[in-house]
Symmetry: none
Subunit: 228 residues, 2 copies
């Protein structure tokens, strides 16, 4: 799965590229619509992450020009938070999804994942972890078949855990994943949400283990580890 990022802010472009590479995608970036056209002409990409606010030819124009030739490519558009009009036009022009800046890492990964799946012709992914079942697209979760409803923050953190099951995740890393880059969050806040998740998940046998000094780890304790 090869992804082209079109973003004039090099810092952001690089951050996004790193993030996607970390998730197993191949990601390259260019800084303008013109460069994007040549890149797409020269090589083949499966997905485009396209900033609408570009210098020179703007993203919407690029989008409509691209559609004429690269028909199959999925487009995730990045817009400013208040540019409702752009978002509407973009969606009408055939962007597949959008994300408003600033966004959090897990949001981007979720959207890209959904588009990647769709381009492979798969439907929405149901992730399973023990008795827990997550449908990212429908944004729903079940525990033993019972609907479980989670506020945004808890949802994001749980999603991040599920991206890295049985791995130790530091609190700093969790903050980086679920916070937009204009926000900040104390590590204590993470502790709070982990605590809340525990009260919801632990009765079902899903544990978030504390690794003292290092972070947390999601684990599924099978039935044999029944408490006395």
């Amino acid at each position: 799965m090869r992804i082209l990022i079109v973003e004039d802010d090099p810092l952001l472009a690089d951050g996004v590229a790193q993030l996607l590479r970390g998730a197993g995608y191949t990601a390259d970036y260019v800084g303008s619509a013109e460069q994007a056209e040549s890149a797409l002409a020269a090589e083949s990409f499966d997905l485009l992450v396209l900033d609408i606010g570009l210098p020179g030819m703007d993203g919407l124009e690029l989008l409509s020009r691209l559609r004429a030739r690269h028909k199959a490519i999925g487009v995730l558009m990045l817009t400013a938070r208040d540019a409702l009009n752009e978002r509407v036009r973009g969606l009408n022009l055939g962007a597949d999804d959008y994300l408003t800046k600033p966004f959090a890492a897990v949001e981007l990964l979720a959207r890209v994942g959904a588009l990647a799946r769709r381009s492979r012709g798969q439907s929405s992914l149901r992730r399973e972890f023990g008795p827990l079942s997550i449908d990212d697209e429908a944004h729903r979760a079940w525990l033993h078949g019972q609907p479980l409803d989670l506020p945004q923050r808890e949802w994001a953190i749980l999603g991040f855990f599920l991206d890295h099951p049985e791995k130790v995740l530091s609190k700093e890393r969790i903050v980086a994943a679920v916070c937009r880059w204009d926000q900040d969050m104390s590590v204590n806040a993470v502790e709070v949400y982990v605590s809340r998740l525990r009260t919801k998940l632990e009765p079902a046998g899903i544990r978030i283990r504390t690794i003292r000094g290092l972070g947390y780890m999601l684990e599924d304790l099978p039935h044999d580890a029944k408490p006395a």
Copy 2:
């Protein structure tokens, strides 16, 4: 179901193509009547979305020439809002339906759907969702068999929900679907219509669930979920 779009504005052509592809059709577009003739000669299409105002040979002329050979093809004609004359002539020349520009995404989908069904020899499609029953062509709705009447906007939004049942739809996405591209609408307006739809649908067991921070989702709560 293969559709050819004949439209000289590439932005619009592309938007329409994307929209139709998103709905599961195969859609291609060309920018002039001449190109349309060669495309139709070379390959087979089931439906034509034809802009009347074309440079060079105009849409009406193309339509009359086409009818001589491709008799079976359905034609949805696009006209300017005030061009009553063209519409009349177009219908006389054998267009099957028309849409005035600018139009909203859901309108186009509804018309194309109707023509597609007709070409398959099916009569009007009754979509069912729990106790709700929708006849797009007749533009009527029933709830438990009781006629339900809905103003345009509510109709459009409900139709969009039915196109994506059990999926989270952001308010922006709803705006993009039901607004013509020359319009804009605050997300607040969506809230208002959702509220109205709820008062009408909820007594019958159809819920529009709020996903805080993300949007809405249509769901049918079966009888077993009876409140205490």
